[in-house]
C-alpha cells in the first residue's frame, strides 16, 4: 500500500502528464485525477455524468502500478485513457442492449485493440515515438 506522500507524488505526475498531452493534442475535456486502489488497471477513465456532461471525466490511477512508469510511458497511458474518453459515444452506442458478457467480449475483442492502435498513432504524433508497452 503506497503512503500518502507516494500517492500525492504520483497524482502530480499524472496531472502533469495529462496537462501535457491535452495541450499537445488540443483536447478540451474536463478530466479530474483521482487515486483508486482497485486491483486490475494502472489507469481507467469514466464519465462523471454521461450524457448530461459529455466532456466531464474522472481519470483513476493506481499509485502502486504506475510508480515504475517513465514519463513517456505515463504519457502514453494517459493518451490511451483519453482515447477511451474520446470514443465514449461509440462505446455507449455499441454496448446498448448487450448482456454483461457480450459487452465484456466487445470491449476485449474490438474496443481495446482499436484503442491500442489509436494509442500507437496518437502517441507517435504527440510524443514523437511510442514505447510499445
Amino acid at each position: 500500500m503506497p503512503s500518502a506522500a507516494q500517492i500525492a507524488r504520483e497524482r502530480e505526475r499524472v496531472r502533469r502528464a495529462l496537462a501535457y498531452v491535452q495541450r499537445r493534442l488540443g483536447i478540451a475535456l474536463d478530466v479530474r485525477v483521482e487515486h483508486e486502489t482497485r486491483d486490475g488497471n494502472e489507469m481507467a477513465i469514466y464519465p462523471r455524468d454521461w450524457p448530461r456532461e459529455p466532456r466531464a471525466f474522472t481519470l483513476d490511477f493506481n499509485a502502486s502500478f504506475i510508480v515504475d512508469l517513465s514519463t513517456q510511458e505515463l504519457r502514453e497511458n494517459v493518451i490511451h485513457e483519453l482515447l477511451h474518453a474520446l470514443t465514449w459515444p461509440l462505446r455507449e452506442f455499441a454496448m446498448k442492449g448487450l448482456s454483461e458478457r457480450a459487452a465484456d467480449e466487445w470491449a476485449d475483442r474490438i474496443e481495446e485493440p482499436v484503442i491500442r492502435e489509436l494509442t500507437r498513432i496518437v502517441a507517435t504524433h504527440a510524443l514523437g515515438r511510442w514505447s510499445q508497452r
Partner: protein, 67 residues
C-alpha cells in the same frame, strides 16, 4: 545539449489521416460482431452514421486552431 522540441500536432491531420480510418474499422467490426442479421449495405450506412456522429463530437472534444 539542447532538448529536442517536438513540432506542434496538426489536430485536423491527426484525425483525418491518423485516427479516422482505424475508428471506422472498429465501428464496422462492432456492427459485424453484433450479429449476422444486418446486410452489408445496412452496416455501411450505420458505420457512416456513427463515424459522422463521432466526428461531430470531436468538434466539441478538441480545441481546433482558428483560421
Amino acid at each position: 545539449m539542447r532538448k529536442r522540441s517536438l513540432p506542434p500536432v496538426d489536430t485536423y491531420r491527426l484525425i483525418s489521416d491518423g485516427i479516422e480510418a482505424p475508428l471506422r474499422y472498429g465501428i464496422r467490426r462492432a456492427f459485424k460482431h453484433s450479429g449476422p442479421s444486418l446486410a452489408d449495405e445496412e452496416i455501411e450506412r450505420l458505420v457512416q452514421a456513427q463515424a459522422d456522429a463521432l466526428m461531430s463530437w470531436f468538434c466539441e472534444a478538441f480545441r481546433f486552431p482558428g483560421p
